[in-house]
Symmetry: C2
Subunit: 169 residues, 2 copies
DNA sequence: GTCTATAAATCGATAGAC
DNA sequence: GTCTATCGATTTATAGAC
């Protein structure tokens, strides 16, 4: 996950992965048949992480607004690494979209559908879907700007505004 | 530009470029010393395109609000290809951010500073910078979602809402 | 300037000993 | 299961004839 985040899929070699795992290059193939399998495992790991994060938020916060703000706070907490290497999810999706094999649509949908449910629970039944897309899009867009312009403040400032927008809902 | 947009930097080979240019593979090196030089030329081509687009908008529209809406309309007009291959600028920046050599920060800044000027001209002197970043971030974020979820309507709908937000300023 | 041919390096993947 | 060694394909880049 870390290597794919920092260097991207195409610029991460199996030798890099083997080195990071402290095993000789050939051993990687004992656990993964192809590089695509490794990518699939990374996607699965991201899915696990997102599910764990959302479950923790659901457990620690009871109101939908508090949950949405907790997600924003969680995402903004990574602003330093996001400014350096981009959003782990966003840049992964961008690279996967240039490929044919595996997709990350489910991964992104997991975020949007969860957010949509929170907006619905907050009483915004009519435009919950739209609000959810806007929230995630705003985060991903600012993550791209923070990364491209090498400025983590872009992301933290955006998160602060998104938080107060939730309050005013 | 087209190949890098569709397949990404890393998945575009010099053979692909030579084939698209109807020249034998060796000939590419007569015009570009390295692949990085080709990437640099593509960045320059994007810069040229953006400058031309913004100049045309400045010439055809006189009020800052009309200019901002014209930019949004321009960007939304590409929603079909954006859903298929991502935002040409955004996905290029994402890939360049994983590299060391060339940067696309100036390319992105060209968009944001132009938008910032429009917001300033529209009387929003205090938060022009922030409004500009939010506008571009919203576009890039929705472009990523449209691409990942393979749905151009996400981008066109977002553009429509961004347009009416400009009206209400 | 344009072409063919190929070098040099890298990378994904496999074979086979232990 | 773990390791070394290496194959085969791909890719960037160069050499040299025309």
């Amino acid at each position: 996950m870390q290597l794919l985040h920092q260097n991207g899929i195409e610029r991460t070699t199996l030798a890099d992965i083997a080195h990071a795992a402290h095993v000789p290059p050939g051993n990687v193939y004992y656990y993964f048949k192809t590089k695509d399998d490794i990518i699939g495992a990374v996607i699965q790991a991201h899915t696990h992480d997102i599910n764990a994060t959302l479950a923790a938020i659901d457990a620690q916060h009871r109101t939908p607004k508090a949950r949405l703000k907790a997600l924003i706070h969680e995402l903004a907490g990574q602003s330093q690494t996001v400014a350096r290497h981009g959003c782990p999810l966003g840049s992964l999706c961008t690279e996967l979209n240039k490929r044919t094999n595996p997709t990350a649509a489910d991964l992104m949908r997991r975020l949007t559908t969860w957010a949509e449910q929170q907006f619905r629970d907050a009483g915004h039944r009519r435009d919950a879907h739209q609000l959810a897309l806007e929230l995630i899009a705003a985060y991903e867009g600012h993550a791209l700007l923070a990364n491209t312009l090498q400025d983590p403040d872009i992301l933290t400032a955006a998160a602060r505004r998104l938080g107060s927008r939730i309050d005013k809902l």
